[in-house]
Symmetry: D2
Subunit: 290 residues, 4 copies
């Protein structure tokens, strides 16, 4: 955490690529007294592609209110270039809900890192379909909601979860939540739900991927963090990583080593989302890492 953080704003832009965008954006900000301190740009093609931009600027020298700045930017710049854009402020920590079942490794990492200030978030609630982890969560002073999900009550359960979450949180992290979300639930939180899949997608889609990997005799196992869409295990990938294994490792070893990878991959994906470093581009992501 740097001192200047409370004055840092982030502007993210997606639009059809054409000459002049960088000039238009940077000149607008300069004229309003914004000091750009980080600027990362990507064009998907050299011609007729998409333009992606993430920049950070400092607000103290602004010659107008933030509201006025946003209003003007919309009218003078964004409209002309048909921009999909958002402006966020580092001081506004995102509200992050965590959904979990029984595995605690990913949950604990998120709780502990948030408590330490490594993740720029608040955690208004944890929701689980089991009671097992209540103690661990409440120890951090965080409300724990037990919402059992069965094949009979599925629609009701997810309706209950929507009512708990909607308007109360900015992002939902599935920290090994072992239930399949309903399309209705997903539709309430577009590009706001982050999952950790315990395999190196698209290999070993579905259940028990470590056993699948062990039976296949792979030499590396991995984990994938992605946004959740209706298409199970197919949402835009944010981050992946792998771990070397050998014939000496049992399926149980793979699961244990895999949990370490899951933990670190999910942490990075969540951190990048919280810092507004990820732009979804259809079925893929643009991730402006440091």
């Amino acid at each position: 955490m740097v001192d200047g953080e409370s004055t840092t704003a982030r502007l993210l832009i997606t639009c059809p690529d054409q000459p002049g965008i960088i000039s238009a954006v940077s000149t607008f900000l300069y004229h309003h007294g914004a000091n750009i301190t980080d600027f990362d740009q990507h064009s998907s093609e050299s011609q007729d592609g998409k333009f992606f931009l993430r920049l950070e600027f400092q607000t103290p020298g602004l010659d107008c209110s933030l509201d006025a700045l946003e209003r003007n930017f919309r009218a003078r710049v964004a409209a002309e270039y048909e921009m999909d854009w958002r402006l966020t402020y580092a001081r506004d920590k995102k509200r992050m809900a965590i959904l979990v079942s029984k595995h605690d490794h990913a949950l604990m990492e998120l709780l502990w890192r948030t408590m330490r200030g490594d993740l720029a978030a608040t955690i208004p609630m944890v929701i689980s379909n089991h009671e097992d982890l209540r103690g661990e969560v409440e120890r951090f002073g965080i409300p724990y909601h037990h919402v059992p999900v069965t094949s009979e009550n599925k629609a009701d359960a997810y309706a209950q979860m929507v009512s708990l979450l909607e308007g109360k949180v900015d992002v939902i992290v599935l920290a090994r939540y072992m239930q399949i979300l309903t399309p209705d639930f997903v539709s309430h939180f577009p590009h706001q739900i982050i999952n950790i899949h315990h395999s190196f997608l698209p290999a070993f889609v579905g259940a028990n991927p470590y056993l699948q990997a062990w039976e296949k005799g792979v030499k590396l196992i991995g984990a994938t963090s992605h946004y959740v869409t209706d298409d199970l295990d197919q949402g835009p990938i944010i981050e992946q990583n792998v771990q070397r294994v050998s014939h000496r490792h049992s399926a149980a070893d793979l699961k244990s080593l895999g949990q370490d990878v899951e933990r670190s991959v999910l942490l990075r994906a969540v951190k990048w989302h919280l810092e507004d470093r990820v732009i979804v581009d259809g079925t893929k992501t643009v991730v402006f890492v440091k």
Copy 2:
């Protein structure tokens, strides 16, 4: 290459696991004056599994001929424990044929590493379904056979290749050979054909995996080296590795970065095979790496 290499023998054993095997093997070798200098063992289960062993011993102190040693080992040790075993000598370099189409990166690495003595092999021939790489190969003084393969002549072409290869080589490396081998061809060389697949199997099986990977937006690409069986892209995996990529990389970039991974993964797999470090265990491998 160490001085003692000309006197190094390697014993590889697979058999049903039971108590006493290590004692029987090591005592037999000790009594015959063999000095064990490397010993690596694996049991697939703690009970009723399979036993795998690779050991190296030095031959100068042997009290009998190598023939006699093998004969006695078969009679006194291998039979009792129902061993599948082989005894090889580091001074007997394996004869390695290379099959290639038009990509030169994997071929060149194999040729160059063999010439330098990094790979313990001789290369009696390179076979290609194209003429493109003849100059590169003949520059090394290695015979180049052009065997075109079409849908019409497929059976004849592979029969011609069998007659070129059978009895002349110990291992066949597919260094980006883009034709699908016939089951008949494969059946002549069981666990003797090594392929490099340009993806991280089992993800992106089949054609053009880098384009598949790019379309999927993965954050890591990889390569897999495996033994060839009738089941395309499904043979026992020897080695895999990955390379980090981002949204900045085009499908062409992925292909280019991927070729570096292919090259190094294939090199390691071939090296391990040549040093008798790989035992095939059904659909998997046991790889005793240094």
Copy 3:
């Protein structure tokens, strides 16, 4: 944790290399009904070097008591080959003390992993020269001893710590303990103290290595876990790892990223020590990893 663990014994041997050792050890165990389930051997030279062995065997079929087995092994095998050896049992968890100052990342990982059963240890105490982390530790039900260390009281403080630790613990882990141990303290616990050094030794020995690394403009930072000897930062290395960084990372970023590496490197080193996978060989280690 596997079912059979309560019956697993581990035998570690160091001795001058000569023919016949493997035969002698494995035959002795076989004759006593011990079933060898893992066997990993290393010779430091092909001739006249040192011999290192780690094996696991199962005890249920033993024809004598463990005491008798040890007595016989000493008399019949170890003496003849001048072995330095130890026999341990997986069911006897090692007692691990943790020394810490103010950084909590390495401490929390050790506490949490031990609580989950990932580390085969009990933690009888944590000692710190500060009060800061008392709450975190006592929450786990573990006694926390505050032993302030100043230049004036140094001898007394370490004498107090020896009296707290001696005979009560099997291993001492320095989880970012920022005081330099006295030679007298170190001499009480030979090869029983594990440190995590926040740099990739031998680069950046001494204080504030992340700042040193940042000033030098390195592209990778790392961490090193080693046994503590009198020679500061020079004890036998158990494990190291690195993390890629770039010009975008400040010295503070390097410190933050480095803490993740420290945490995972220390965890692996401690785990291997607890599982008797490490043999110290003078100024180096032999680590029989899975």
Copy 4:
């Protein structure tokens, strides 16, 4: 290689940071019809630091000659912001000389990658203090100059090399050239000489680093590519990487594994230099990787 490459220009800028630079540069280019297709920026501090920029633009739509563009940029933009800047064109391949002694691994990789078009360079000459590699080099049709260096002829030898190189090459790569360059030689080619050091600097500075690493018992070995300055082994680092090793590896193994790392690290550093991705910032580098 992409189609558009022949029309790609690259602008690299270093200057004191202040608001308005991005606006000034991008607006200037926009007004002249340059289409920016890649833009990567870095500020060393959030306030009063240095500003670094690398951007690519396409030249077909320019409303003036390249000469006029450069002249105008100098007068209208660079002067005001006190910029240190350069403008290069992808179609102008850099002329790369290679200096080598007897090890061929790094040399061969550079020759082969340049021949394939993976490196955007021409190679007007190779210079060596030995005759050993003449055949390998001349096979590629590249002139090979043998300039022996002894303690007696050192000044003359380097004077001869300056006369061979000066004005004929844009970059000099030391591909395991085992002589220490004279300060006079270095002064002719500031930030134009790239070395590969066979260790993970700043560990194991000086001679025989692999033996040093083996004696220290490290668990990772590495290589470092850096610009050459008068301060031996201390120039700005461009790239580093490591390779895991264990007690099983001899000093000779470390050297062999290390050569693979050297080869790939040097390749990346040279590639980035040739693509104008590296800006030297005092004793460090800013590397705008893809």
